[in-house]
């Protein structure tokens, strides 16, 4: 198993957001995490990525057989965890080329590989740009600075292609995208899918899942996964809305 989350509780500033998450992810699988706003989807992504502002109060996360929670953000990244940000950060003065070359070579160093030279790196970059249908000339632009919403998200997928993660978490990558950008993003993900990697696609709407077909759909509600199923669950959610989940939870006496 690639990732195994057991009874994960996490809080920020003393406020509990995740209230006992259980989730298993195998290589080759695509998991969609759905749910209304403010139920902990992004928190789950951040806790797996290792953002320090969140406190894990109990539970465990095992990744590739190791306790993930003991690793620093960059160590998790080097171990193959990638987070596609909901709001990619603008970093003026750091060119994308420079940023990606530093990142790729730090990951290579960790794996005991020699750093990529300038020529080989540029070649890799061109190849991956093509893969994710990135046409604009990024090389000399600062990371995300002045990018449109769509460009930022495409840039996330481009970085994912460059780093070839084992577990990619895409946090609402579809938000704010028009249908063309959405298709480009989805195509990128589909091209990168292999039997050895896995994806966690966090999304609000079923729309993205028309393009990225998930193996599993999970519904996160008030810090817990309350429903899991196949891709049909996403369609059902789309049809009935999240009120259906709310009502069901109320009826079960779990949530108010």
């Amino acid at each position: 198993m690639l990732l195994s989350i057991k009874n994960l509780h996490a809080s920020i500033n003393g406020k509990e957001i995740l209230k006992g998450i259980d989730l298993d992810v195998n290589q080759g699988e695509v998991h969609a995490i759905m749910g209304p706003n403010g139920t902990g989807k992004s928190t789950l992504a951040s806790v797996i990525a290792g953002r320090e502002v969140f406190d894990v109060t109990s539970g465990e996360v095992i990744y590739k057989g190791r306790n993930l929670l003991k690793l620093a953000v960059e160590e998790r990244a080097r171990e193959g965890i990638f987070l596609g940000f909901q709001y990619p950060v603008e970093i003026p003065g750091v060119s994308i080329t420079n940023f990606m070359r530093t990142a790729v070579n730090e990951v290579r160093k960790f794996k005991g590989l020699d750093p990529l030279g300038g020529g080989a790196f540029l070649k890799l970059m061109e190849e991956k740009k093509k893969l994710v249908e990135l046409t604009s000339n990024l090389a000399n632009r600062s990371v995300n600075e002045g990018f449109s919403g769509g460009e930022k998200k495409k840039n996330e997928i481009f970085q994912m292609a460059m780093l070839e993660p084992t577990l990619a978490i895409l946090d609402e990558t579809d938000s704010g995208l028009d249908i063309d950008a959405l298709r480009v993003v989805a195509n990128g993900v589909n091209k990168l899918r292999t039997k050895d990697n896995a994806f966690m696609v966090i999304t609000h709407y079923q729309r993205l899942l028309d393009y990225i077909i998930p193996d599993f759909v999970h519904v996160l509600f008030e810090g817990k996964i309350v429903k899991s199923g196949s891709k049909e669950l996403a369609l059902e959610l789309e049809e009935k809305g999240y009120d259906w989940i709310r009502k069901e939870q109320r009826d079960n006496g779990i949530a108010g």
Binding site: A49, G50, R51, A72, V73, E74, A77, R78, F82, L83, F85, P88, V89, E90, I91, P92, G93, V94, S95, T97, N98, F99, M100, R101, T102, A103, N105, E106, V107, F110, P115, G118, F121, L122, A139, N140, S142, V143, Q159, L163
Partner: protein, 469 residues
């Protein structure tokens, strides 16, 4: 006359010292300069040294700097081995590099060079003898000693410095570099004076370095007057890399005649207490002045940039961008003052000061200030102080970049906004290298001589490959 006088610095010391050594100090003067000196020392007696009670010195306390004993050297050292002092071969000394040791101009052979194209460069003391009329037309005309006690003191005491003259319509074919080195086995108190005159429609790139080669305390009170004639253009670089026991009061007065263009870059890498007084006057319309600064301070270093721009004529443009990174217990001050006079219509002026504090003990006082007396202007100012962007740190680390490297990358990117504006490529590469080394805590104080000390060019190795490809 003694060559060396050892004293603590007090206001009371100087008038007596001046009277006692007046004959020696004024020996090379043209008549009106001696009158100026007499007036200046009187004015200094009235003004005294600034204290933190003065608004302009509120955040820069000189008490500690004054509390040391210094030697006052009233004669240049004899038999200076130029090659040895500048520590490497200086192939272009006769043409583009001007050496200054402990405030005195040093040369391999002639103290004042007259180049074929009419450019004159060399010792100010020598130029006062040889070209008194040219010097008299400019010296003391821009640096007003009535309002500034350090300028008053310098005017009374200076005996040498650097003089550069670029005649009308002459474009200096290569950058001129002034390397001002402080290197002595005693604590020194120095007061040198520089004068740079650009004739009408001339052009010059000037790199001005202040370096120390050892860790001996020193106090420098340096005044530089730079006159940019009509339609002239100056690319000016001030590079400061002094030891932590040094105090430098550097006052640069820019006089901008009509349609003159200036780009000035202040790069402050090290120094115990650095005070840059930058005073610029537009003395005709259509002038354009950009002043950039980057300062990287740590330990208990202190940097104080005071920029005053006087828009006395219409249609001038001025811009200031000063950025700083302050680490450990270091402190910084930025005071920008733009004065737009009543007739200076269509003035375009902006000021920006940005700071990053890396620790809770580092601090900065920033005060951009606009004083505007007409309503047909476009002016803006801004100041920000913060920490390194934590969201950006997280983003970089999430891509596998280690914490130290991520921090370096962000700091370098921050500084790059200023450094990328350096127009001379080899100079920019060298300064980029120095900034990277500085940010990694690996810069030595003797490494500052930008153009000469690096032959053959030695590549600098970094954890992060910053090469722009």
């Amino acid at each position: 006359m003694q060559d060396v006088i050892k004293q603590n610095i007090t206001k009371e010391l100087f008038p007596g010292l001046f009277r006692e050594h007046r004959a020696a100090i004024t020996a090379g003067d043209y008549p009106s300069l001696t009158v100026q000196r007499d007036n200046a020392i009187r004015r200094f007696e009235e003004l005294g040294f600034p204290t933190i009670k003065l608004e302009a010195w509120k955040n820069t306390d000189l008490k500690e700097s004054f509390g040391k004993e210094y030697n006052f050297v009233l004669k240049p050292e004899q038999g200076v081995d130029v090659q040895k002092v500048f520590r490497c071969n200086i192939p272009h000394l006769d043409t583009a590099i001007m050496g200054q040791l402990n405030g005195w101009y040093v040369s391999k052979d002639v103290p004042l060079m007259e180049l074929g194209n009419g450019i004159i460069m060399g010792s100010l003391a020598e130029a006062m003898k040889k070209y008194p009329a040219l010097i008299e037309a400019h010296l003391g005309k821009y640096a007003d000693f009535n309002t500034d006690s350090f300028t008053a003191l310098n005017t009374a005491f200076f005996m040498d410095g650097v003089f550069i003259y670029v005649p009308e319509n002459v474009k200096s074919p290569k950058p001129v570099q002034i390397i001002n080195v402080i290197h002595h086995d005693q604590n020194l108190f120095l007061q040198s004076r520089n004068l740079v005159v650009l004739g009408k429609n001339s052009r010059l790139s000037l790199v001005h370095c202040d370096d120390s080669y050892n860790h001996q305390p020193s106090f420098s009170n340096v005044v530089t007057e730079i006159c940019l004639g009509e339609y002239s253009s100056l690319d000016h670089y001030k590079l400061q890399n002094l030891n932590n026991a040094s105090t430098l009061i550097s006052s640069v007065y820019f006089q901008m005649e009509a349609s003159a263009q200036l780009e000035s870059h202040y790069i402050s890498l090290n120094g115990g207490l650095l005070r840059n007084n930058i005073r610029l006057r537009f003395n005709g319309p259509h002038g354009d002045a950009k002043i950039y600064g980057i300062y990287l301070m740590d330990s208990k270093q202190h940097i104080d940039n005071q920029v005053f721009v006087d828009h006395a004529f219409p249609d001038c443009i001025s811009g200031e961008l000063f950025k700083g990174i302050l680490d450990e217990h270091s402190s910084g001050v930025f005071n920008g003052h733009v004065l737009v006079e009543r007739n200076a219509v269509r003035t375009n002026a902006y000021q920006s000061n940005r700071n990053i504090l890396l620790t809770e003990t580092a601090k900065v006082n920033s005060k951009p200030f606009l004083e505007i007396y007409n309503d047909d202007v476009k002016c803006s100012h801004g100041s920000t102080t913060g920490q390194l962007d934590q969201d950006a740190m997280y983003y970089l680390r999430q891509r596998g970049i280690g914490e130290d490297s991520a921090r370096m990358l962000l700091m370098y990117a921050y500084a790059d906004e200023v450094i990328s504006r350096i127009a001379i490529d080899p100079l920019r590469y060298r300064i980029e290298d120095m900034v990277k080394k500085r940010l990694q805590g690996e810069l030595q104080i003797c490494e500052a001589c930008v153009l000469h000390c690096n032959t053959p060019e030695q590549p600098v190795e970094f954890v992060i490959d910053m090469t722009k490809i």
